[in-house]
């Protein structure tokens, strides 16, 4: 098995299995929500908000901004719920909303925060070992910038698989392509990321 296949299967195999069980639970909650059960909406939030926050935190690199965008995501989700056709899982659908919310945020110039400055600000002061933390953070930031610089389709695929932890099948279904195509996208993205990170170091 190729490293890519191993990496993807390692990261998504568990979520693939989990997603089947979760799909059933989500279905029940959505049905309850449709019947007017507000608690079902709360349960859906409880199940998903950590993942959405984590994704946005990785995308934007700023905890406060990530929290704001998470709230935005759910607001949009409640508004858009009548249009949810349930062909994908609720979490997958929500992931897409979060991702779009982040992109919209980036496209608003007044709120665009230069990544370099944020990197400076993101270094914690009283860290246990400051140099290590800075090094790790710098590396994470380089990776984040490299991911954000990817072409649209590759960026979405990488973030969905690794940061959104969505099953490959779900992403393929949502994108209307095959799982093989998803893996090809990942492979291409890895090549570009390797190049970008290499250039960054130089």
């Amino acid at each position: 098995m190729s490293p890519l296949a191993t990496a993807v299967s390692t990261s998504t195999w568990g979520s693939d299995l989990r997603s089947r069980a979760e799909a059933g639970e989500e279905g029940r909650l959505l049905a309850a929500l449709a019947a007017g059960d507000r608690q079902a909406a709360e349960r859906l939030v409880e199940r998903t908000y950590r993942g959405i926050y984590g994704l946005l935190r990785r995308l934007c690199g700023d905890p406060d901004l990530a929290a704001d965008l998470t709230q935005d995501t759910y607001r949009k989700a409640w508004d858009a719920l009548p249009g949810f056709d349930r062909r994908s899982q609720f979490s997958t659908w929500l992931f897409r909303i979060a991702y779009t919310t982040f992109l919209n945020h980036l496209r608003r110039p007044r709120r665009l925060v230069p990544l370099e400055e944020k990197h400076e600000a993101a270094v914690p002061d009283p860290a246990p070992a400051a140099d290590e933390v800075v090094g790790r953070d710098m590396e994470g930031d380089r990776l984040r910038r490299a991911v954000l610089a990817l072409p649209d389709d590759l960026r979405y695929t990488v973030t969905a698989v690794f940061w959104g932890e969505l099953p490959v099948k779900e992403i393929a279904r949502q994108e209307g392509i095959t799982t093989v195509a998803i893996r090809k996208r990942l492979k291409k993205a890895f090549r570009l990321l390797a190049l970008a990170l290499e250039e960054d170091v130089r």
């Binding site: 959505l30 019947a35 908000y49 990785r58 709230q71 759910y74 409640w78 990776l143």
Partner: protein, 445 residues
């Protein structure tokens, strides 16, 4: 810094830091849940049936359309008389060629032969036209030799195996060169009138090829039936891999691998037949390559489909020399051709047009700036072919059988041993013979 591997990138992406949401976020989100969410009645039941992605649907539709188009095109091609096809190719051939490329001038009309006139035997055949002195000089360092300069073991002129016998297109009157014949046909109706007869001949070659097999060395004038050839033609489909010559030519490539052979040898040694899908004819050819440098030769073989079929072997590369080699078939002589395999040498099976005179150009091999014409009289009978050629043809036949064709393995073994007697490196021939016998044994179990 060395480039990060896929695994390292994946690991970095999958790293999980502490990304705990800030306290109170959950409550904030919950507080914003509207009292009435209009998801209610509008939400349909979850449809988890695997739906086909739209792009996949589109691809399937495109494939179906392409298949339908190809079928229509094939049907159309089957209805087009070959004469028209030839005329088109000939017309493009008549266009001024680059100065270095030359075909023997078609206007030199050979003497007409009658039906009763016997075919010329190898040593009686007209010699290939000698290249101009400058080109001969250019060919010489490339390993080509002029006729008479060197004799090979079988007595054929060196470098290029010369002469055409037994397999010469059956007793059809030798017309003028097909090109000039076509030039004389200004009236298309006349060409169309002959088309059905040619079609019929072509069909009979394809379908009833089992009834018109190649001459054996003992009976060079006689075309004897070979059931496996017919079966192969049937199994492979009439036009499988066959192409019509075009003036553009073909760039020859080499493949030095022998992986298929190693696989086949291991499997056979274990008493199993190798996976047919893993067999590449070129790689089997390489295993039995006799190292002939810069050689172009052709012959009838016991394994081709009919009397007008020949095997052409090109061994244009020598010891790491990789000058570009391009091959052009003469469409007025060659009705169609099929690549049998590419290894260090390349084998083509060709079907000749009926009644081509013996001094007609069959193909031109261009090595760099040097052209090497191959005329029909150079395509010799099987027993006059060089041992290297025979071994290559046998190896290709063996590979075809491993790929699933029917064939006479005992005959391959016998012929390989015969070829081995004329080869300095007879161990290769013996090895091929033994492998053929082993495969025969495995198949009979």
């Amino acid at each position: 810094m060395s480039r990060l591997s896929e695994r390292e990138i994946a690991r970095k992406l999958a790293e999980r830091d502490e990304l705990e949401p800030p306290a109170g976020l959950l409550e904030k989100i919950k507080s914003e849940i509207p009292p009435m969410i209009p998801a209610g009645t509008g939400v349909p039941e979850i449809d988890r049936r695997p739906s086909m992605p739209p792009r996949q649907r589109w691809l399937i539709a495109a494939s179906l359309a392409a298949m339908a188009g190809a079928s229509l095109f094939a049907l159309h091609r089957m209805e087009v008389p070959p004469v028209e096809e030839t005329a088109r190719a000939a017309a493009s051939l008549r266009q001024p060629a680059p100065p270095q490329v030359f075909f023997p001038p078609p206007p030199t009309v050979p003497p007409q032969r009658s039906l009763a006139q016997p075919h010329s035997l190898p040593d009686q055949a007209p010699a290939p036209k000698p290249a101009p002195p400058r080109e001969q000089d250019a060919l010489k360092p490339l390993g080509y030799v002029r006729q008479g300069e060197e004799k090979v073991a079988d007595g054929a002129p060196g470098g290029v195996v010369g002469g055409l016998a037994g397999g010469e297109p059956a007793a059809a009157p030798a017309p003028p060169a097909a090109l000039s014949e076509l030039e004389s046909r200004s009236d298309k109706k006349e060409a169309a009138a002959e088309a059905p007869a040619r079609d019929e001949q072509r069909r009979s070659n394809l379908v009833a090829s089992g009834n018109e097999n190649l001459p054996r060395s003992e009976t060079p004038a006689q075309e004897v039936a070979k059931p496996q050839a017919a079966a192969r033609a049937k199994a492979a489909g009439a036009d499988h891999g066959w192409k019509v010559p075009s003036p553009q030519g073909i760039t020859l490539e080499t493949d030095a691998g022998t992986a298929s052979y190693d696989l086949a040898r291991r499997s056979i040694a274990e008493g199993k037949l190798p996976d047919p899908a893993a067999i590449r004819v070129g790689e089997i050819l390489n295993a039995f390559d006799t190292g002939d440098a810069l050689r172009v030769e052709g012959a009838v073989t016991p394994f081709v489909q009919g009397p007008r079929y020949r095997l052409l072997r090109l061994h244009p590369f020598r010891g790491g020399r990789q000058a570009q080699a391009r091959l052009s078939f003469n469409p007025t002589t060659v009705a169609r051709y099929r690549l049998v395999g590419t290894g260090l040498s390349t084998l083509y099976e060709i079907e000749l047009r009926p009644g081509a005179p013996s001094d007609t150009l069959v193909a031109t091999l261009r090595l760099g700036e040097v052209d090497r014409p191959v005329v029909l009289s150079e395509l010799v009978p099987w027993d006059k072919a060089s041992p290297g050629f025979r071994l290559a043809a046998l190896a290709a036949e063996f590979a075809e059988i491993l790929k699933g064709s029917s064939g006479d393995l005992a005959e391959i073994a016998r012929q390989a041993r015969e070829a081995g007697q004329d080869l300095p490196a007879s161990a290769k021939a013996t090895e091929l013979a033994e492998m053929a016998e082993q495969v025969k044994g495995i198949r009979e179990k």
